[in-house]
Symmetry: C2
Subunit: 378 residues, 2 copies
């Protein structure tokens, strides 16, 4: 194997693939990164069994030459050193060679690295996804779907299915749902092709977080396909493969109240800042509870009390207020997560009583819903 | 106690004082920050016994009012919460009050914090330094003296005296010296007032690191005074007090070779980058050794070998070369620390043999000296 590659291309490809590589894996060869050279270009592969990422550098693209002097072949390089080496090489191009004894040479400017590689034929084969269930989505939209839901997945392994985000198609809409049973985040987008079908699946939150880091927000096209136990996100130069969680996702729609006793509108930023301040004294306590008390004159009082440290109280004025007064306590962390996920200057909150879940939505937009269960303090 | 203070002034004062406050201290009240209000202004104090910092906000300065409506008094506030509260308050001004029961109220905009404070009379008194040994130095120069030496102090408590920087006056020069017995860093500056005297003292590296963070580099005047067991650095609004280490600092001048067998000049940046690359494969090994081999045609070969991982080799061309060829191994970390501390585009290295210490200086500048002991590998 031999090729000369543009260093900047190699750096960004290596960075993407590294997101799938863990130094703690049961399969030793997976601590390495596979490099495949063909006449078409270079493919880098990383995998931790749960996530696999392939990044492709085409030898030519848009009239630019990225890879030259290719002699086809493969090698697995130790991923612990390779990214730093590539990043710190002195020249704009890098020559990479491997011989039949898996000795690898990396040359750039006057610097030469000789690394012990491994046999690429020992690297596990990634499954090839063949399916008709192909969905196309813009990368910026997909990133929003992820960011507005994934924070609400459970971090506890007691109910593994809740550590993932439920992805499904319903009534011509694509739905992302996440819940840790104390809060729920839901985001939908209308599909252009309403005939599309996709099974209801659950993708690990960790996979979606890594995918979100790799995708650019320039609106690149992402092709999504699903088989029994894998989901694939494919862009022009990237294959991102994740396992799907086993089991049925709980029916969450019945959790969402369809009526409310109180409805108020508030400025998102003002509410975030106020709750952030109220949470300062309660930081080390697990639930980090703040209390919201409304008064019929649109005044919302946010308070928190931490006996050893002190109290904090602040008032803000709602933009509008309808219904009964509310006295409710909730986790400030859940509330801040939810408010930050709502990409809107003004929000609606609907309460149905001090012990019932309440929902938060952007004003005039039904595509995002955040639900939070209150905390019993009275 | 009561006052209204400009929030930005309070934020920067609190940030400075926090550098002396540790949550792990044997004296519980030292986990707090003392606030003193007088007609002249507000003084904040923090201390961890080793370092004490006082920051003063004058009520008026340059025609600007910083503090208003002052009712004199003192309180100790829990330092764990105070900085975040001050930073996140909504308004440009902050009202702080304390009553006789040590209840403290912080008010800004519509936010009100009530905190449990402590009795300021229980806070230890800082020593008042009275001395004639006053030295004046520009803050940017003092920061350089610290940065170019302090990294070389020992981190091992086996010889406590080496965890500090030796500060002394010799032949009309102010000298900073640090060594961990494997390397040595020395920086001197000429004194304007040659009659000045100062005892030879050793200041903990940690204290100087914190001082470096607090001092601005705008060339503010710093007054340095020393008593038996304390050193004080005083600027217009800041008193920085550190304990001095007990014991005699070793005589280091005899370590510095006064002759050399080999002298070479090299570009600092090029040498840093090359050694940085050579050190990539040896990261986890404690000494992180690289080898420098010179050839009489001014070629310097930098190599490193890590049997399990691989090898790296790179050549650079010296700007000039005189004397015998050298084959020498050294810690890449020590070499990089030394080279980065030398603020010059080109450096001189003088060798006196493979097992003798070598020295690095900026070209045409005797005020900085970096010395490194080689590592035996042959």
């Amino acid at each position: 194997m031999k090729f000369i590659v543009q260093r900047q291309q190699l750096i960004s490809s290596v960075q993407n693939v590294m997101k799938a590589i863990s130094s703690k894996t049961a399969v030793p060869i997976l601590t390495g990164m596979k490099i495949d050279a063909t006449a078409q270009g270079i493919t880098l592969t990383g995998s931790d069994s749960d996530i696999s990422i392939e990044s492709f550098i085409p030898s030519e693209e848009d009239g630019m030459v990225n890879v030259e002097q290719i002699e086809p072949g493969s090698i697995v390089v130790q991923a612990r050193y390779f990214p730093d080496i590539v990043r710190k090489l002195p020249d704009n191009t890098v020559e990479i060679k491997a011989d039949e004894n898996f000795n690898m040479t990396i040359q750039s400017g006057k610097a030469t690295f000789n690394l012990n590689g491994q046999d690429a034929s020992e690297y596990p084969q990634l499954p090839v996804l063949q399916t008709d269930n192909n969905l196309e989505i813009q990368s910026d939209l997909l990133k929003n779907l992820i960011k507005q839901t994934v924070f609400a997945v459970s971090t506890m392994e007691t109910r593994p299915i809740l550590t993932g985000v439920n992805i499904k198609i319903e009534n011509g809409k694509l739905l992302f749902t996440a819940t840790d049973s104390h809060r729920l985040a839901l985001r939908s987008i209308p599909l252009e092709d309403v005939t599309l079908n996709l099974p209801s699946i659950v993708v690990p939150g960790k996979s979606l977080n890594e995918l979100n880091k790799i995708l650019d927000d320039k609106g690149e096209k992402v092709e999504v396909s699903v088989t029994n136990n894998q989901i694939m996100f494919r862009t022009k130069h990237l294959n991102f493969l994740s396992r799907i969680l086993d089991g049925n996702y709980p029916e969450t729609s019945r959790l969402i109240p369809d009526q409310s006793q109180t409805e108020l509108h508030a400025k998102t930023k003002e509410l975030i800042d106020t709750i952030d301040r109220a949470s300062l004294l309660a930081r080390e306590e697990r639930n980090n509870v703040v209390k919201l008390t409304t008064q019929h004159n649109q005044i919302l009082q946010i308070t928190s009390n931490s006996p050893e440290v002190g109290q904090v109280a602040e008032e803000i004025t709602a933009e509008s207020f309808e219904g009964e007064d509310v006295k409710i306590s909730f986790s400030s962390k859940y509330m801040l997560d939810a408010l930050k996920a709502i990409d809107s200057d003004e929000i609606v909150i609907k309460f149905t009583g001090a012990m019932r879940p309440f929902i938060i939505r952007p004003i005039d937009d039904d595509s995002i819903l955040q639900l939070i269960l209150p905390v019993r303090t009275y």
